[in-house]
């Protein structure tokens, strides 16, 4: 297994945790940042900090150019046009933007919205609210125990009253990746739109919105080696043009009188108020870094790690794994439980060994109910994860089973 990136690019990974080597295995919650991202943000704050789009002086022009440059980088990363890239706080806000601006303008009583059983709460609750408000129906496509969307059921639920299919591109529990192109083709045949929650997907596999043929894509920079507090909504231009604004205020307007206002061009129509310019710059640097590694290489690296970890985990007595047991079918995330050890206890015991994993319901409570568990442990990988991290985790699990036995 060849490593795709240098661990030394990520300063935080040099930390010692409780005196131990640090094995960070919670990248699905948030990924760590390479030094190029930290530098780009630092440089912005030291040299170019000014409000964007507002000042007629050098550093404001620089700030604007850097902010808009970041937009171009993110656009190129997903094969979109820059004016289709709306900066938000995170994927959650991007999804809410669609639910409020597009949803409130388009969903009426009797319509339906389709989601899957494995959605993150971010891609479930906004649609619950919208459906309740509009007396529309929220339809849920089941997933198999392996985390595959049951396509037969999806086809059955899809009707001419379906307005939107909202689906995660990669499950944060199973790591499974529904066939978005197939879903989009079926949905479009019924004139339904497709929103992809790309929070996990875009960090781990190449994404081309044109090839996928979907309509909306939500991203969070912090899952993609970028900073927290910045995300993106991508949508097809026609859709953004037709949508009313979401938040109102400065920057999103063209002309304002005391009684009325007209809207700015895309994408600024959806970016009210002073933006997180430094975050956007960090996001731009992060996608540059990922592009340099090559998303194909990233995927291969993480697939090899996943295969390795699955094999090791299966050798520990009492371990159950949720989701596919083949690395080909999933991203670098493994939800599991160890018999007799509550995932919280496991996470605490692993932390003592320098290993950071997640425990809990992973913002997917309906899925936990389906499996009849309260919570699971979860390890997840990124470009900087190594076999050594996994070995350290496996050894710590073995040790934990002894403590709790």
């Amino acid at each position: 297994m060849t490593d795709v990136s240098k661990k030394s690019d990520f300063p935080i990974l040099k930390r010692r945790i409780h005196g131990k080597r640090f094995a960070y295995l919670d990248s699905a919650a948030t990924a760590q940042r390479p030094v190029v991202v930290l530098k780009a943000m630092d440089e912005f704050q030291r040299k170019h900090n000014a409000n964007t789009h507002r000042g007629i002086y050098l550093i404001s022009e620089e700030a604007t150019a850097l902010y808009e440059g970041a937009r171009q980088k993110v656009a190129a990363f997903i094969h979109a046009q820059p004016n289709e890239i709306v900066f938000t706080r995170n994927a959650t806000e991007a999804i809410n933007l669609v639910a409020y601006a597009w949803g409130r303008a388009n969903i009426v009583t009797g319509d339906n919205i389709i989601v899957t059983e494995m959605e993150h709460h971010s891609n479930l609750v906004p649609w619950q609210l919208l459906c309740k408000e509009r007396k529309a129906e929220l339809r849920v496509v089941p997933v198999t125990d392996e985390g595959a969307v049951v396509m037969k059921e999806f086809t059955k639920l899809l009707t001419h009253r379906t307005k939107l299919v909202a689906v995660s591109g990669m499950s944060n529990v199973f790591g499974t990746m529904p066939d978005l192109a197939v879903i989009a083709r079926s949905a479009h045949r019924k004139n339904a739109l497709v929103l992809v929650d790309g929070a996990q997907l875009a960090a781990h596999v190449p994404v081309d919105v044109k090839k996928l043929g979907v309509d909306f894509l939500a991203l969070s920079a912090h899952k993609m080696l970028g900073p927290m507090g910045i995300g993106v909504l991508w949508a097809k231009r026609e859709l953004l043009e037709a949508m009313p604004p979401f938040l109102a205020g400065g920057d999103m307007i063209r002309e304002v009188s005391l009684q009325t206002a007209t809207w700015n061009d895309l994408p600024w129509k959806f970016e009210a108020g002073t933006p997180n310019a430094v975050g956007a710059v960090g996001f731009g640097a992060a996608v540059d870094y990922l592009t340099k590694l090559g998303m194909g290489s990233v995927r291969r690296h993480e697939m090899a790690l996943t295969a390795y970890a699955l094999k090791k985990l299966r050798h520990i007595k009492g371990v159950s794994i949720y989701g596919p047991t083949s690395a080909r079918l999933k991203g670098g995330v493994i939800a599991f439980n160890v018999q007799g050890i509550h995932p919280h206890d496991l996470a605490t015991l692993l932390d003592r060994e320098g290993v950071a994993i997640r425990s809990g319901h992973h913002c997917a409570q309906p899925l936990m109910q389906k499996f009849g568990v309260m919570a699971t442990a979860r390890m997840s990988f990124s470009v900087y994860t190594t076999k050594q991290d996994i070995d350290q985790c496996i050894a710590a699990i073995a040790k934990a089973t002894k403590v709790m036995a």
């Binding site: 509550h342 919280h344 206890d345 605490t348 003592r352 919570a375 040790k399 403590v403």
Partner: protein, 120 residues
């Protein structure tokens, strides 16, 4: 591994929780869930003449949740209602013999919160 949090007394209460089960007749009871992980605790009390004369708890949880709730049941049995109502998180820390730290406070104090809910 010697680990202050997973020391013998806590593991013992986890594996053999005291007063685990339900009371046929209780005068006070409450149920609470830890929204973080879905752990849940039900506590039941039988109070007579201002004293806790019987107690039980049930639910499911991690070692810390279970041990803390179990220790709490031992601590309140036979105590006056007034004393029980005054119990604080510091008392739970004392029972556990360790401060669990911010990440596990919700677990450690779930039983205590349930107790206070029962008597509120």
């Amino acid at each position: 591994m010697t680990d202050a949090l997973y020391k013998a007394t806590i593991l013992d209460h986890h594996k053999h929780p005291r007063h685990f089960g339900t009371l046929k007749r209780s005068t006070h009871e409450a149920h609470l869930e830890n929204t973080l992980c879905g752990d849940e605790v039900t506590m039941q009390f039988k109070v007579e003449k201002g004293k806790v004369i019987d107690v039980a708890f049930s639910g499911r949880g991690c070692a810390i949740t279970t041990a803390a709730a179990s220790m709490l049941t031992e601590a309140v049995l036979g105590k006056s209602l007034a004393a029980v109502k005054k119990l604080t998180s510091k008392d739970v820390d004392k029972l556990l013999g360790v401060k669990v730290g911010p990440a596990r406070e919700k677990c450690a104090y779930l039983g205590l919160e349930t107790l206070h809910k029962a008597f509120s």
